[in-house]
């Protein structure tokens, strides 16, 4: 049970007829207050606040639950110098528009409305390390931790995260060509909407990243054939030592496989308090603080994050991070939080990934879809304690589309779990050795839905959506059938009601067509849920958090409900007794 739902309140329901292309009837709910994001400390909006902003071409949107500002070719600049800061910004772009965050009015971070445009997410000409943009029309979240240049130190983009995916880490920014007033400037070419703009100043004297800046680490490089465990350091051969600004395994490694790295440095806690350290690696790693092993992430495995939370006294503490790489993928990164700071990289140069021997286990859909059952790690990113295994779905089915609309579902709960583009999946974890993990690993950037069952019988239309269904009594997976093009039609049974759920990619979209014949049970189909599900007209909905689009193509024998809960919104089809068919097209 997710704690959230214990107090989930269904405040209202918006319902509208559900025919071929329904026009939604929107009802404003008087007592509906969306949850505010408490991590945003200082909302700098509205732009009309002239003490904070100097703007041209922005207007305030009407009828939105949160204050939103819209522009076409507008500019907004702070009236104060930005300095060292954590900047949070949410924006929605249109196809063809470009949005620039000009840090200190000197260092541009550029986002394009079209995710496929080159240079997406680049900062001062430095390319982003990952693709994380969403489609135009979807809310996107950008978090930046920026350090202004000092006497002998260049400006640094300590971390930039777009939609939860890190796109820059500890990037040293080239000096600007001209001097700058230091203001934060937002500019739009074309249309853009913003909300929730916050700026938290970071005190150079007390914020931990400042204390890391300019410091170096000592490292030792080791080699050992068959490097599989941290214990192998004992018999490995030290081949190199050096100094480095970051734990940069690509730069520091002695060779591509079967090596170990030990990093030694000092962590200065600005004040006594609780700090959380997160160590992510492929393969194994561990962290010592003051000589005590606080995180153990041993073994040959893919990216796994282990964490430790502990009280650290103010002042200097020696730390050591050990890492080894056997074969296959390789990565090391460390983050920490505490002292009121956002999650920040800890001497980490960002993720590196070397895929070698695992390539042979890539599943590549060529002419027809690939359907593969496996266990699936879900949610895809999990922080784990040292002795914890990731949460997994045991009845996972992944479908790879030659045109790239890949998805994965949990047949055991009838849940569409993940959507992604790019490469399909890797089976190394299930087809190497005994396959101790039995996981198929999606290879693209995954849009992760919330994992609740997609179908349920509800006592009343205001009932909370369940987090899970009783396996084999309430919910039965019945298998699937392939249509002539090789696309699956899944069969399920919900309290005796047969459900057929077909997926087929059209190249542009993933089309999901669901048919069922309800009897007296009040069956509901959760088409989409998110922080918001906004009707755009003509059956089109934009789902925010996670971000994707739903187009209702057909809705027969059902009534569409837009349920507003304390968490957000749910687009639900309430199935009428008799035959129902709902066809939706998903894009992301």
């Amino acid at each position: 049970m997710k704690p959230y739902f214990r107090f989930s309140l269904l405040l209202a329901i918006v319902s509208f007829g559900c025919n071929s292309v329904p026009e939604p009837r929107l009802v404003q709910i008087a007592d509906y207050f969306p949850e505010t994001d408490t991590t945003i400390q200082t909302n700098l909006l509205p732009f009309s606040d002239t003490k904070a902003w100097k703007t041209t071409g922005w207007t305030e949107a009407t009828g939105t639950s949160l204050p939103e500002w819209i522009t076409e070719n507008g500019t907004a600049a702070t009236t104060f110098a930005q300095g060292n800061a954590h900047i949070h910004l949410e924006m929605k772009l249109e196809k063809g528009s470009t949005f620039t965050v000009l840090l200190q009015n000197a260092y541009p971070l550029v986002l394009h409305g079209d995710p496929t445009v080159e240079g997406q997410g680049s900062v001062a000409g430095i390319a982003a390390s990952a693709k994380a943009s969403l489609l135009p029309g979807l809310w996107q979240t950008l978090d930046i931790v920026f350090y202004a240049p000092g006497a002998n130190v260049p400006a640094r983009l300590f971390r930039a995260t777009l939609n939860g995916v890190e796109i820059h880490s500890q990037v040293q920014l080239p000096a600007p060509e001209k001097s700058s007033d230091g203001f934060l400037v937002l500019t739009a070419e074309g249309k853009a909407t913003v909300r929730n703009i916050a700026l938290t100043p970071l005190d150079l004297e007390t914020s931990v990243p400042a204390l890391i800046l300019g410091k170096t680490l000592r490292y030792e490089a080791y080699e050992k054939d068959g490097f599989q465990l941290l214990a192998n350091f004992a018999a490995s051969k030290k081949v190199n030592t050096g100094e480095t600004a970051f734990m940069d395994i690509d730069a520091n490694r002695p060779r591509e496989i079967n090596y170990g790295l030990k990093y030694f440095g000092t962590f200065t806690a600005p004040q006594t308090g609780e700090y959380k350290f997160l160590l992510t690696s492929d393969d194994g790693s561990r962290m010592y603080l003051d000589g005590k092993e606080i995180i153990t992430n041993d073994g040959a495995h893919g990216d796994e994050t282990r964490d430790a939370t502990l009280t650290v006294e103010a002042g200097e503490h020696a730390f050591e991070v050990d890492y080894f790489q056997g074969e296959g993928g390789a990565s090391l990164r460390m983050d920490y939080t505490g002292n009121g700071l956002p999650m920040l990289p800890f001497f980490s140069a960002g993720k590196t990934s070397v895929i070698q021997s695992k390539d042979a286990y890539n599943l590549v859909p060529e002419k027809e879809p690939i359907i593969q059952r496996s266990f699936l790690v879900f949610p895809p990113a999990q922080e784990l304690a040292s002795d914890e295994d990731p949460k997994r779905r045991t009845h996972g089915i992944s479908v790879g589309d030659p045109s790239g609309n890949h998805f994965a579902l949990d047949a055991g709960q009838g849940t569409l779990l993940m959507l992604w583009h790019g490469a399909f999946a890797n089976a190394f974890n299930m087809w190497d050795g005994r396959g101790n993990w039995q996981n198929l690993v999606p290879m693209g950037q995954v849009i992760s839905r919330n994992g609740q069952p997609d179908f349920a019988v509800l006592a009343e239309e205001t009932a909370n959506w369940p987090d899970s269904l009783a396996f084999n009594t309430v919910w039965k997976p019945k298998g699937y059938e392939l249509n002539p093009a090789g696309w699956p039609v899944f069969d399920y049974e919900l309290e005796g009601v047969a459900i057929k759920d077909q997926y087929q990619s059209t190249g542009d979209a993933l089309v999901r067509t669901t048919t069922l014949t309800a009897k007296e049970q009040p069956v509901y189909f959760l088409i989409a849920s998110g922080e918001s599900v906004d009707p755009q007209g003509k059956g089109r909905y934009v789902v925010q958090g996670p971000g994707y689009f739903v187009q209702i193509n057909t809705c027969k024998g059902a009534e569409l409900l837009l349920r507003q809960t304390a968490r957000g919104q749910e687009l639900v089809a309430k199935i009428k007794p008799g035959k129902a068919e709902i066809s939706t097209a998903l894009t992301w």
């Binding site: 050992k224 054939d225 068959g226 599989q228 465990l229 214990a231 192998n232 004992a234 018999a235 690939i370 359907i371 593969q372 059952r373 496996s374 266990f375 295994d389 997994r392 045991t394 009845h395 089915i397 047949a411 055991g412 089976a427 299930m430 087809w431 050795g433 005994r434 396959g435 101790n436 993990w437 039995q438 396996f471 084999n472 039965k476 997976p477 019945k478 298998g479 699937y480 059938e481 392939l482 002539p484 069969d491």
Partner: protein, 645 residues
Amino acid sequence: MYRYLTLSILLAWTLLLPVTTTAKTEADYYQIQTLKSPEGDILEIGGMAFLPDNSLAVATRRGEIWIIKKWDTETPKLSRFASGLHEPLGLAYHEGAFFTTQRSEVTKITDKNSDGRADRYESVVSWPLTANYHEYAYGPEFLPNGDMLITLNVGWEGKGVSKAPFRGWMMLITPEGKMTPFAAGMRSPSSFGFNDQGDIFYAENQGDWVGSGRITHIEKGDFAGHPASLNWTNEPGSPLSLQSGEINDDFGTMYEAAKTVKSLKIPSVWFPHSIMGISTSDIISIPKKGFGPFGGQLLVGDQGQSKVMRVFLEKVNGVYQGACFPFREGFGSGILRLEWAPDGSLMVGMTSRGWASTGAEPFGLQRLEWKGEVPFEIQQMEIKDDGFLLTFTQPVDPATAGNTSAYSLQRFTYQYHQQYGSPVTDLGQCQITKANVLPSGNQVKLTISGLKPGYIHELRLAGVMSKSGEQVLHPLGYYTLNQLPGGGENMADMASHSGKASAEPVFEAGKHLTEMPASWGGKATQQLEISTQPGLKYNKTTLRVKAGSKVSLRFTNPDDMQHNFVITKDGASQTVGQKALEMGLAGYGSHYIPKSPDVLFHTSLLEPNSNQTIYFQAPAAPGKYEFVCTVPGHASLMRGVLIVE
């Protein structure tokens, strides 16, 4: 193993009678044919079934079903029928459909549009699981009434655990998909099958609560010995009510435990570990005709030793028991599945991924054909109140077969405890007082004192000849005695039967120090660590020490089976591994450490999730040495080099 025995018997025989005989081999009677599969196709066999059109279908661990036509030619034709399954470990073809067991369900697979490719994957029944890798599922096998049986492994968390419903059970499934618990107590029931009476037998692998490999006759409500499964006996439909708290380490043996625990089913036939395989797999009944003189008996595969064994079964006082004999070794990979081909040959499906096998191929398909000659073998070994009645496949030579000194019999048992495996326990000799050749000419009645229910009786023949002068091809068998025909228990008891292990192993002096020598002054000059990895590997293939240094070596075993660590002279690791295998029954109790000048230092046989530190002074002579795990079946893969600098 028996190759070595054959040699020694030959030697003994030559001393008795100066007659030259040519020893026959298994290949003279049963010939292995290898099916070629196109390069790139990875056929790790999890299940096999023959189709009405005589083509062969195989399910693979990578989740595919392939149909193989012309499997009996040089150029078999393969086509992929289905894909995307989650490690299917069984395949059946029934009334026009395939049935397989994936990790989480039994699936019925059909080709509705008859284009040669599956288009419907119907879940017959699905079940929850915890995502532990060891939660394998096997089957189905169809019963005559159309119901199916499947088996579910326990999970592995340093011991067998049953954290999802009915892990460790055999389940019965109706065609409509109603699943009910059938029998409990299984650990790793990778294989099960039927004898010619249609009775169900399942094969178990050595592990926790399982002293050695075995096959057990299973009826509804049986408890086969592993207590983790008993977590679910309070569930509706459970045919037994036994609670896991009723099982403990104190019974001594399964035979003793069964006196108290009424639902405990003792094994029909034990397969002594390392001699009769190390991982028993598929069970199949030999047809009356077409495969030699063993119609109605069982063949049982072995994954780790890439061989097939033969079982003679009999029912005494309503209880199955019998003997296992070597049958055919030398297959290419780890045998998981056996199926009769339409031409009367035995199709052998193999995979060794994750567990090494004597046959070095990672996977494969082979066929065993009977060449038509009848080998001279012990065809039957029947229990009588006062001994065994041996029936040979050919008339015997009365002079040699009637000589009591041509036979030896010893008996032993295994312990019933949570610890992994068991040493050979309570080993004692039986006395053969008479060997009468019966008028039929092919039978010998051995009169024996010392037979003991609850014990495995090892029969060795040395010098018995057929009338036509042939030696017994496999002069070795192990009879599991559960019942004497007259009932009762004791006759001419010669040895105690406490169920206790033989004395602690006596290792050669100085080779196994688990405490630091006092003379080192509390300090080792070099500390080494090495551990095991799944798939029969050490985590290191090279260790380096300084000549003459004082070494402490910590050996850790996080794997799910037992291993040891033995340092040998250069080039001797395989010899030492072979010697460990040849220790036979004594191997386990001696931690598979043979007494040999080739063995320099060694650890004990370590349980899963345990470790041991040993101390030794590195050789004074710089050079190359080797290290190896001498557990039977491991030495060829699990080894490395120790460099003394």
